[in-house]
Symmetry: C2
Subunit: 443 residues, 2 copies
């Protein structure tokens, strides 16, 4: 806190890659991370992939003096992996689990078991209320054929909803995390345009770190260079985003990333680079009311609204692709289940033959008979579970699509409030609802 | 809208009991509900248990003129069952699914499949921003031995969190729904004390309806009187709650419930009674800022804070009971799984005997052998799925417990700001954390 008018806040975000027994040098890296955090004394530390609570507790013990306040967000089977450490008292926390997060049978990808979520902590920095968010979205395993794209888009949609709706009372908003999206990816644009969050890397006055702010780089010894292709040097998928309020202006004084190695250590903190940013908060004397602030988006230029309409429409299209895919998968599961049932009936019919023609010997070898029955039951059980799962996926995708359609309608309605500046692109893309929309009667 | 200074809003909440083919007279009752809504023209209609989207769509068609704006919240396997119809444009919607909601194997109770949630819609009523919430919590099947109590308490906890954090920018807040809790139940007290929501039944100037505002009554022909025992006449479990803001005062002019029958109809709208309330909104000329409003709880009397500490502590105790229960269930699943595995190994050992002593005849009858193997696999699969499920339940309960501990710490810290009025009961009940609390270093 440099002077009475401005407050400085240093924030760190790091994906710790903390899978016990699987991540390389996990224990040693946690020791390094703990040591660094203790020394650097960032105001707010946002960690992802802290999969084991034991590791969180050992970090908490180590940081008891430098960061007396902390929270570990629990969700899913093995946890959300999200943790926050703070110099300032945490008054309140809240967790929102994304409705979609991969598939349980893709166990080698493991995302489903992680229960991905966005964690929120409310802290007071001086007299200011800060809403701090930490998140980790579904990984991208293959950019060319990314079957998880609709899931990630829905996660980005829910993330922006959560931040937008929970931050109305906050003087400043900070989001840190591994978004698993490139800077210009759909979900990223959706998040930034809708919430008004600014990217610390783009806003910083001084930057010291990897080329283009990359956070997954070829120079990191834990990175398999082949997996980065076609981005030979690396990609930027970890972010610190921020925004102020009508009461608070916020500036990014500096930003830095680690560069694939840590001086005097044999390996880096993680396979991701750590991000550090220095924010400067300046409070206004005149204030607006909360409601004014919430309706601020109404006052923003028509151009911005039109861009937002385009982005949400693009997201809707992506979600629809996911919907068709989920419908196809559910259909396949149903068909396989019906075939399993038919096989079972066939078998029962065969079994009934000697029973009907009394005394006739069973023509079917017993071993095969039992194996076939077991197979039928296995098919029926698996397809039943898959059917349930795909139905839930469908409901979540439909829910997001409905919300997006409603949002597009509402944004277009607002656009009509700008008679002079009504842009073409917003009109060219009306909400393409298959069912009658609640928004149409007046349109 | 009677005069220029005050705005009137009529709200209806109804649990529709809309399980197609299972609920009695489902189609006819929907026709009655649609007719009534069309005629009465409530500003906001909050429906629960609209399990089929087809029924929602047919209602939407019927109400196209009276309620042009609507939203159906999708979640879980068969949907959240929540729907909202509005005279005022819905600008935005958001859905929060509760992290706990019963057990999938309790299929006859069905709650798990419903994907219980709280839905939010942002509407503009004149110049005011209204956040309207609709929810339906887990049912209570046996009050004496309610195994779902920890789940319902966690749902109430998450409901209050969701409302508190998303309503900072709203001028008025309305919550309607089937809370499945009696007026003085823990979850209900938690919800009302933490959010400051007021109960329309308790605040109304005029009431016309069932005795004690009951919404599940013995006089309703769809109600099994035996299930109501020991509450012979009925219980009050459906609510309309509301609160204003620093900008808006809100008054309840009247409230009514249906009384177990509908004039000129052979049966009532549902097994629950419908609630209608008339709210009057009055806006201030002077306004506070959003941040002032959010920190308003800080200014409330120490007594209220102490009560809140007590309630949250009570909720924590209940969640801990749930934790022990879930731990026990997971332990049982693990033990059964280990026994299944042991049985499988035993069988394999028996099978290996003739293979090791070449030529010896298999001593074990083949049929039993295969049946036993199938049993082993079934046990292993079931216990594995149960283990995964109980682990997720444990994580969710632990997460809620952590948040409650943090909240109690923060509330106690605020209480210390009232040196004169520090009450005894708040001090007698410190947070009883088994693990070192993040809040203790300064305490």
């Amino acid at each position: 806190m440099a002077n009475t008018d401005s407050v400085k806040v240093r924030v760190l975000s790091l994906n710790c890659w903390g899978i016990r027994y699987l991540s390389k040098h996990c224990r040693q890296r946690y020791a390094m991370i703990g040591h660094m955090l203790c020394k650097e004394e960032h105001d707010i530390v946002l960690l992802q992939e802290v999969w084991s609570e034991k590791d969180y507790l050992s970090l908490k013990k180590k940081l008891a003096c430098s960061h007396p306040y902390s929270h570990y967000f629990k969700s899913g089977v093995i946890g959300s992996g999200l943790a926050i450490f703070s110099v300032h008292r945490i008054h309140d926390t809240f967790l929102f689990r994304y409705s979609l997060n991969g598939y349980p049978y893709m166990a080698h990808h493991g995302d489903w078991f992680g229960g991905k979520a966005v964690g929120m902590a409310v802290l007071n920095i001086g007299s200011l209320t800060a809403n701090v968010y930490v998140t980790h979205l579904h990984a991208e395993y293959c950019r060319d054929k990314d079957s998880y794209l609709p899931h990630r888009v829905v996660q980005a949609w829910e993330l922006q909803q959560f931040i937008r709706h929970t931050s109305a009372g906050a003087d400043l908003v900070i989001l840190g995390g591994d978004l698993n999206m490139h800077p210009q990816d759909l979900g990223n644009r959706l998040l930034r345009s809708y919430t008004g969050l600014q990217d610390a890397y783009l806003e910083t006055a001084n930057f010291d770190g990897c080329e283009d702010g990359m956070t997954l780089i070829a120079d990191n010894p834990f990175i398999n260079k082949k997996e980065l292709r076609p981005f030979e040097n690396g990609i930027r998928i970890d972010y610190i985003l921020f925004k102020g309020s009508s009461k608070t202006d916020i500036y990014c004084d500096f930003m830095s990333t680690t560069k694939g190695s840590v001086p005097n250590h044999p390996f880096p903190y993680s396979d991701h680079e750590a991000l550090t940013t220095g924010l400067r908060l300046e409070t206004h004397t005149q204030t607006e009311t909360g409601s004014d602030r919430q309706t601020k988006i109404q006052d923003s230029a028509a151009g911005k609204l039109a861009v937002l309409v385009d982005i949400v429409t693009e997201a809707r299209t992506e979600v629809k692709v996911g919907l068709h895919c989920a419908e196809r998968m559910r259909y396949t599961a149903t068909r396989t289940g019906v075939m399993g049932l038919a096989l079972l009936f066939l078998e029962l019919a065969i079994a009934a033959v000697p029973w009907l023609a009394l005394g006739t010997e069973q023509p079917f070898p017993r071993t095969s008979f039992y194996l076939l029955a077991a197979l039928c039951f296995a098919i029926l059980l698996t397809t039943f579970l898959l059917y349930i799962f795909y139905t839930m996926e469908l409901k979540a995708l439909q829910g997001a699509e409905d919300q997006m359609r409603l949002a597009v309608g509402s944004l277009q309605e607002k656009l009509r409030g700008f008679p002079l500046a009504q842009p073409h692109n917003a009109q060219q893309r009306p909400p393409e609802g298959h069912e009658p929309s609640a928004l149409t009667p007046e349109e």
